[in-house]
């Protein structure tokens, strides 16, 4: 029965807090050894899902399975779970050593084994020499790593992390992301982490589960979510999305129904100075540069096209465009949202040209 395909599984989970429904028919499958992100806006029920897996909350209906066994009635401490809390919840009145050793002591592990395991973990998290400190005497990043070590100490099968980077400043956060990803891959533990930062999810996770208003909108690899968003919410939420109402004014795109909306992304658009591109000169449309934002390694160009303000990226090596300049804008493709349906539409001139060639 222990089918590696679904190590952690949620089936038809519903959960209310009073009259408020925080989880609506949640179905999730997580294969063994995967690193999965629960991504969604604030209040979309991510923490609730995590806490139900950990046994800290109980679903009203539905089943939670771990390794093929229904665990609804098994206490959290017997589900083989390590939990890293959003605020770390390190034991404030215990030293780093005692924090990490806590889970092992509860399990009555011999003290010499505990010593070895703690030393090993301290090395893993690069915190050797800090064992006598109290949590308040650590930096944010160190606290996060100690919380990680504490959760890992009893060798759990599943690691759950609630917004592990939320309390850390931007620079350190980037380092920790990479560190955490490497660490989890190295240990090979099935991990689920909560985030509301899509960059974080895309960068760290093997799979992303997008939540919204208590529902799962879509689950898949970052590439899948990016290329084939299944719902209007996912289209808007993933990537840098610009909604455009009157997209039928754009050349080479078919007119949709009256309520359809198009979603553009900067990477779907190219901007050329007049005469810069021979290939697209005939099929491009004219727009006016309204703003140029320096993004370090590239430039974001904001262009007014048919009364829509759209964004595109240009390399700093490309010829320089100026505010007010008339430029050629070429749109390769866009998402069309029609009610609940999302489809991808390509610029028809591309098809024609490929036919010609």
């Amino acid at each position: 029965m222990s089918d590696n395909a679904n190590y952690v599984e949620l089936r038809g989970i519903n959960k209310h807090y009073g009259s408020f429904q925080a989880s609506k028919d949640i179905n999730i499958q997580i294969p063994k050894g995967r690193l999965v992100a629960l991504l969604g806006p604030s209040g979309s029920g991510k923490t609730t899902i995590l806490r139900m897996i950990a046994g800290l909350e109980h679903p009203d209906s539905g089943e939670i399975l771990i390794d093929g066994k229904v665990v609804n009635n098994i206490p959290g401490s017997e589900r083989g779970i390590g939990f890293v809390f959003q605020s770390y919840a390190l034991f404030r009145y215990m030293t780093v050593y005692d924090n990490i050793a806590f889970g092992l002591r509860v399990k009555k592990t011999p003290e010499n084994e505990i010593k070895e395991r703690v030393a090993e973990l301290l090395k893993l998290i690069n915190c050797e020499g800090l064992e006598k400190r109290y949590p308040s005497q650590l930096s944010g990043g160190q606290r996060q790593r100690v919380a990680f070590a504490r959760a890992l100490a009893p060798n759990p099968q599943i690691l759950l992390l609630d917004e592990p980077f939320a309390a850390i400043d931007a620079k350190v956060r980037l380092e920790l992301r990479t560190w955490l990803r490497e660490m989890i891959t190295q240990i090979g533990i099935t991990s689920i982490f909560v985030t509301h930062d899509q960059d974080e999810a895309i960068e760290v996770a093997d799979d992303i589960i997008v939540t919204n208003q208590g529902r799962v909108e879509q689950a898949g690899t970052p590439q899948e979510l990016y290329a084939n968003p299944a719902t209007p919410f996912v289209v808007q939420f993933i990537g840098n999305s610009i909604p455009v109402k009157n997209y039928d004014q754009f050349q080479y795109f078919a007119r949709g129904g009256p309520d359809t909306v198009a979603i553009l992304r900067p990477e779907f658009i190219s901007i050329f100075k007049k005469g810069e591109s021979v290939q697209f000169s005939r099929s491009a449309e004219e727009g006016v540069v309204e703003d140029i934002i320096f993004r370090g390694s590239n430039l974001e160009i904001r262009v007014r096209l048919h009364d829509n303000l759209i964004s595109a990226i240009r390399s700093i090596n490309d010829p320089f465009v100026e505010v007010g300049e008339v430029v050629d804008v070429f749109i390769y493709r866009l998402f069309v949202v029609d009610g609940d349906r999302v489809t991808m539409e390509y610029n028809q001139s591309l098809k024609r040209e490929s036919v010609v060639i």
Binding site: A89, F102, V106, Y134
Partner: protein
């Protein structure tokens, strides 16, 4: 800025006012207690405080205080724990009821117990059948003392436990720690100083309680007289030396409690600096 610059005279006026106030309302009476207690010389003082009835009264006060502290520590921890760590219906109501003894007059508290356990109560025959007497006996005094002091410890603990949240307990529980281990290793260190502080306040209040105890005691000299009641008795009998000598015992106990309180506050603050 302006205010501070021009406040020289105001500052001194206020300081002098406070000092005069404290002198008149606190130091003068304390001084008077000492003077009166020693009016008949040191020998008279010693005779007064070693009077068998005085000693009995002091012992009864200590007994009632210990009972109150023990019962209220257990009750206070339980109440504070359940009010802060669990969500349930009627939480507000319980929280309000805990404060009742602070707002209700002690005399009324005494009368409530007289009604509940006295001759006219339906409980009386049952208790009497078991040979238990509550009214006008030591159990009544203990009950009254517990009643008037029971908010003190839980009220000290609730803010500390609320500030701490439930994360650390949840983390410990997920690692398989039992309730008792969680309490001892995680919760107790947080509330240690607040708890001791609450115990000190509870002790101070228990030792001094007069109203509720007075209603329930029956004033049997040597049997159901606590120190405050004994003092009143002497005072009514115009034995000023005796009354003030006995008072001085309470004053000394109060000063010890005050010193403990200052020390606890210091220790608590110092430890908080390390852990927050």
């Amino acid at each position: 800025m302006e205010l501070r610059k021009n406040s020289g005279p105001l500052k001194w006026v206020l300081i002098i006012l406070v000092v005069i106030f404290l002198a008149v309302f606190l130091l003068l009476p304390l001084f008077y207690i000492v003077i009166t207690a020693l009016r008949d010389g040191i020998g008279g003082y010693i005779a007064s405080i070693t009077d068998p009835y005085a000693i009995k009264a002091a012992l009864l006060t200590i007994r009632a205080t210990i009972w109150a502290v023990v019962v209220n520590t257990i009750f206070g921890i339980a109440a504070a724990w359940c009010l802060t760590k669990f969500a349930f219906k009627g939480k507000k109501v319980i929280s309000t009821f805990i404060d009742l003894p602070v707002t209700v007059s002690p005399i009324i508290a005494g009368l409530i117990y007289v009604l509940t356990f006295g001759r006219q109560s339906f409980l009386y025959p049952i208790l009497d059948g078991w040979g238990i007497q509550i009214i006008f006996a030591v159990p009544g005094i203990v009950l009254a003392t517990i009643f008037v002091t029971f908010p003190f410890i839980s009220r000290e603990l609730i803010p500390v436990l609320t500030a701490q949240g439930t994360d650390e307990e949840e983390a410990a529980a997920l690692m398989g720690a039992g309730t008792f281990t969680i309490f001892r290793k995680v919760t107790l260190p947080h509330i240690k100083w607040a708890l001791l502080y609450g115990i000190v306040l509870c002790t101070a209040r228990a030792m001094g309680e007069f109203g509720a105890v007075s209603v329930l005691s029956g004033h049997l000299r040597g049997k159901t007289n606590t120190l405050p009641l004994y003092i009143e008795l002497l005072y009514q009998g115009y034995d000023f030396t005796g009354a003030f000598a006995a008072s001085s015992i309470l004053v000394i106990l109060a000063i010890i409690v005050l010193a403990l309180r200052v020390w606890l506050e210091r220790r608590g603050n110092k430890e908080a600096e390390i852990h927050y």
